[in-house]
């Protein structure tokens, strides 16, 4: 009995913390319409900051609380709203979701950067060491405070949202933004207020939670899964239900904890260890709740499709594939063994990114689990008999494709954030319940055998790198064939307007399942071809996030974009090997790139592509650009310029000068001379960067590089006459926007609208 009371108290206090976190999540969703994946990350940042000021700098608890919850968190919320999300008010749900995924990635990067996981003082809760006796059970003050805070917040939020003008305006803005404005509300200010409030609630939950589980970046961030589960229980709107869900979750966890200590509790079920069960409770909870949600209504012409990528042409696709394969043969011949291994990693990443092309790029479905399928592929490959037989590889791909389709089936009824969350929950479940089983990864490692192809030794880096580029090229060509096929058009039609698709007789369930299966199959290659020792840590949920981010940012509709994204991900390690001090920046990079979407919802890649398009279509400029890079490489390899100089010069050349080359070619006379002068000075400063910025620390140097390239780029742009990028707009038919004019006229002919 005593034990029952004790575990109930534990459950209720844990539930209280979840309730705090989830209420913040609901408040931002209800008032700004954005489901903030980064909610937990904000709490994590708050917990670390609180620890910094309270235990490292020794501030008193009330002052520390005011500083974090009253100043830091609201400011963070405001900045997120203003910088990251303001430009996305009209964007699709998926884009906004991705922006918050970017935030999460950025926060994780920043936290590991500022607070590296070594020599840390313990995080102590409020009135640590003092206990209160509740029904004969000793309970720490931290827990009591959590419970009180949850009750106060619950009441306060209820009053705010339903009884105050600000609250009613908050809800009105979500209902109809422009109508609210026509009624005199100021949506911008209201959104800022709700983000400030939501961030503070996340912070409070983070601080209370850190006292229970200690400081640890990823677990603290992911503990919001609990908040997601509770929030979904409240259907993302009802605060009372959200609180109920949070409490139920807290109690379930506590009783499972109790049960696991008892003799009657099974240690294994069907040969699988149950040790991860308690940890997985919230995720299971979330997954089940999502499955129980009612069928999403089909929406007519969403039409605001972000990326409108061109239909891939066979000649460019074949050319690209050939360049990739020949290029990798040539490049690996000159590379050191360790650099080849980096290239292999980048190619594996590129395969993982390209797995999202059919799913997200074509069919418009979001998955937060690409690496989970890669992990399943790796595990199956390591267990397959035949030791790297090609037949085993084919079997693995088929099995993972089936798993992908099966996982997709229950999720097919879901859309937007719900679908994304379901795939995220799947990723976590596989991590916690499957990958940590001793049977799956014995001693935490699995040995993936290299593929056996007669005459080729794929255990050596160079053949492996070449083989992977061939694999990528083949997958790319298959995807081009897919996009040009009837099925590919069905995928795009489903993204543009599921309703229109259904009324034309498309089987949406089959189409969605196929998209998932194909994506899973490609992702499995990223695991099965990555021969060597692999650990479950390679395939976790938080590692999948940058994959999705870079896929979306670098243009998920195109295979070239996916390759670019993979190389960017891989370049983290490559860049770090050239310039070690840059590695911290590259940790934050995916997040920062994703955040730039807030400024330009069309994605950074399209922006860059627009800037570079004149260059690629102007052979002379392209040649100049490439020889410039070659020259820099040469100068660095003979030690004329330093590594920092190389990095700086590359940025200024690539981003500041190259986009201006075609315009420079047609500019004449004095202004041309002037432009060349600016470029020369900029490159000069960059090349001897180390000597000029000798005493400046890393952060200052990076800032200097950014300032330099912005100044050089803009100065040149001012002087010459710009070459306008050509833009093509396609006709709009019933909200189907992803089609080219040729495809539309083709379908017009098919249904005999025109002869």
């Amino acid at each position: 009995m005593q034990q029952l009371v004790a575990y109930t108290v534990i459950g209720l206090t844990t539930g209280a913390i979840y309730a705090l976190a989830s209420s913040g999540l609901v408040v931002t969703y209800v008032t700004s319409g954005v489901f903030n994946i980064a909610h937990g990350a904000i709490g994590m940042i708050a917990a670390f900051s609180y620890w910094q000021v309270r235990f490292e700098w020794g501030w008193s608890a009330p002052i520390a609380l005011i500083a974090i919850l009253g100043v830091l968190c609201p400011t963070l919320g405001l900045v997120i709203d203003r910088v990251a999300l303001r430009g996305l008010a009209q964007a699709t749900e998926v884009t906004r979701l991705t922006a918050t995924v970017a935030l999460m990635a950025a926060f994780i990067g920043i936290a590991t950067w500022i607070w590296p996981p070594e020599n840390r003082q313990p995080f102590r809760g409020f009135f640590d060491g003092n206990n209160v006796s509740v029904l004969g059970v000793n309970v720490g003050w931290n827990k009591i405070i959590a419970l009180i805070a949850a009750v106060v917040v619950a009441g306060g939020l209820r009053i705010l949202l339903y009884k105050t003008r600000l609250g009613i305006q908050m809800r009105a803005v979500v209902d109809d933004r422009s109508l609210a404005e026509l009624n005199g509300a100021r949506p911008a200010r209201i959104a800022s207020a709700s983000w400030a409030l939501g961030a503070s609630l996340a912070g409070l939950a983070g601080i209370l939670l850190a006292a229970e589980v200690q400081l640890n970046v990823v677990p603290l961030t992911l503990l919001v899964i609990n908040a997601y589960a509770a929030a979904i229980f409240g259907r993302l709107k009802s605060l009372p239900l959200t609180f109920l869900g949070a409490m139920a979750l807290g109690l379930t966890e506590a009783y499972l904890l109790w049960g696991q200590g008892q003799s009657w509790f099974p240690e294994t079920i069907g040969g699988f260890s149950t040790s991860g069960l308690r940890q997985a409770t919230p995720t299971i909870f979330l997954f089940l709740l999502l499955m129980l949600l009612p069928q999403a209504k089909l929406r007519a012409g969403a039409a605001r499709v972000r990326e409108r990528s061109a239909i891939p042409q066979w000649n460019t696709a074949i050319l690209g594939a050939a360049v990739l394969v020949i290029g990798s043969i040539a490049v690996t011949g000159m590379m050191t063994r360790s650099n080849t291994i980096y290239l292999i990693q980048a190619l594996i990443m590129a395969l993982a990114v390209v797995s999202l092309v059919p799913l997200t790029g074509y069919a418009g479905l979001v998955s937060l689990a690409p690496l989970t399928f890669a992990g399943i592929g790796a595990v199956l490959m390591s267990k397959m008999p035949g030791d790297g037989n090609v037949v085993s590889l084919i079997a693995v791909v088929v099995v993972v494709a089936l798993i992908g389709a099966v996982v997709a089936l229950p999720a097919l009824r879901l859309e937007g954030i719900y679908l994304a969350l379901a795939t995220g929950a799947f990723a976590l479940l596989v991590s916690i319940l499957v990958f940590n089983q001793g049977k799956i990864f014995s001693n935490g490692v699995a040995e993936v055998p290299p593929l056996r192809i007669p005459g080729v030794d794929l255990s050596q880096p160079r053949p492996k790198a070449i083989f992977l580029s061939v694999a990528f090229a083949v997958v790319g060509l298959l995807l081009v064939a897919l996009r040009r096929s009837s099925l590919g058009r069905q995928f795009v039609a489903m993204k543009d307007s599921p309703l229109a698709g259904a009324t034309l007789g498309m089987n949406l369930v089959r189409t969605k399942a196929l998209a998932f299966a194909m994506s899973a199959a490609i992702a499995s290659l990223a695991g099965a071809l990555d021969a060597g020792k692999v650990a479950p840590d390679n395939y976790t949920f938080d590692r999948s996030l940058p994959i999705l981010l870079l896929a979306i940012v670098s243009g998920v509709g195109s295979i070239g974009g996916a390759f670019f994204g993979g190389m960017l991900l891989g370049s983290n390690t490559v860049l770090a090997s050239i310039v070690p001090s840059v590695s911290k920046i590259t940790q934050v990079m995916p997040g920062l790139i994703g955040l730039s979407m807030g400024r330009n919802p069309n994605g950074t890649a399209s922006q860059i592509a627009t800037g570079f398009r004149p260059v690629t279509s102007h052979p002379q400029s392209l040649l100049t650009a490439l020889s410039g890079i070659g020259a820099l490489w040469l100068l660095t390899s003979v030690d004329i310029i330093s590594h920092w100089g190389f990095f700086a010069a590359l940025v200024i050349w690539g981003l500041g000068i190259v986009p201006n080359l075609p315009a420079l070619a047609v500019t004449s006379g004095r202004s041309r001379v002037f432009c060349l002068l600016i470029a020369a000075v900029g490159m000069g400063i960059a090349a001897f960067f180390d000597d000029i910025f000798d005493a400046v620390p890393t952060g200052g140097r990076l800032l200097a590089i950014i300032v330099l390239f912005v100044v050089v780029g803009n100065a040149i742009r001012r002087v010459h006459t710009p070459v306008a990028p050509t833009s093509k707009s396609s006709p709009d038919l019933m909200g189907l926007t992803g089609f080219t004019p040729e495809e539309l006229s083709q379908s017009d002919r098919a249904i005999k609208v025109v002869p």
Binding site: R165, D175, A180, E181, L182, A185, R186
Partner: protein
């Protein structure tokens, strides 16, 4: 009744475009105090764009917007609302997830208490009083339109702009609503009514503007709008 009062809404030389497609060309419209103006034209004539510009939801590429003699080009929509410009957009101008009472509360601001708004709204449309705690999204189409009208009028607007109020409503409901609009104008409020169906609204309007393809084709007394003007605007015949 002819146009007598001072100008309340003046759109001067307005041009506007969506991206590269220009939809309004040098449009001039003046609504005077106490006047009911009908803005007519076929689908795609630019009527709703005129309304968006007049309520500051969209910025013109050229020209200026004046309210009661003040140049307010480029002001925020919320500013115009606070100055007494009340717009009821196309569709139902309500917040479906707020209750009737909360919908009315959205109109409250400094110097205008919630209780006053409710009193006025319920006096005009008694049915709303019975439904005050109901979510607005669960009201019938006509009741929703009443709610948005009631909310707009409770703010003592100087200018009321209605976009396609009749859409999706039974004719008898429409007739009821327009009766209310006439009563409002009699109180001195200027009204700009946008309609695709000309006959419904010409009966209550003082003046009319007929548009097609982004141009004003006719501007004058409502009674002067004849078949020839309408059919040339709607059908493109002379």
């Amino acid at each position: 009744m002819s146009a007598i009062g001072e100008p309340i809404l003046e759109l001067k030389n307005i041009s506007a475009s969506y991206d590269a497609i220009s939809v309004l060309h040098d449009v001039n419209i003046t609504v005077r105090r106490g006047e009911v103006m009908a803005l007519l034209g076929p689908n795609g004539a630019g009527k709703s764009t005129v309304l968006k510009i007049a309520s500051a939801l969209m910025r013109p590429t050229q020209g200026s917007v004046h309210i009661a003699g003040h140049d307010l080009t480029g002001a925020a929509a919320s500013e115009l609302a606070r100055l007494g410009v009340c717009t009821i957009p196309e569709g139902r101008g309500i917040f479906p997830n707020l209750t009737v009472r909360e919908n009315l509360e959205m109109a409250a601001r400094k110097g205008l208490a919630v209780s006053v708004i409710q009193e006025r709204a319920f006096a005009r449309f008694p049915i709303l009083a019975e439904r005050r705690t109901q979510l607005a999204g669960t009201l019938s189409g006509g009741q929703q339109q009443m709610l948005s009208l009631a909310r707009g009028l409770a703010t003592d607007p100087v200018l009321l702009m209605l976009d396609e109020m009749s859409m999706g409503l039974a004719p008898i409901v429409v007739a009821d609503l327009y009766e209310q609009v006439q009563a409002i104008a009699a109180e001195g409020v200027s009204v700009l009514v946008i309609e695709q169906f000309a006959r419904t609204v010409l009966g209550i309007a003082d003046t009319a503007v007929v548009m097609s393809h982004g141009h004003v084709r006719f501007s004058g007394n409502a009674s002067d709008v004849d078949e020839a003007t309408l059919s040339s605007a709607y059908l493109g015949t002379k």
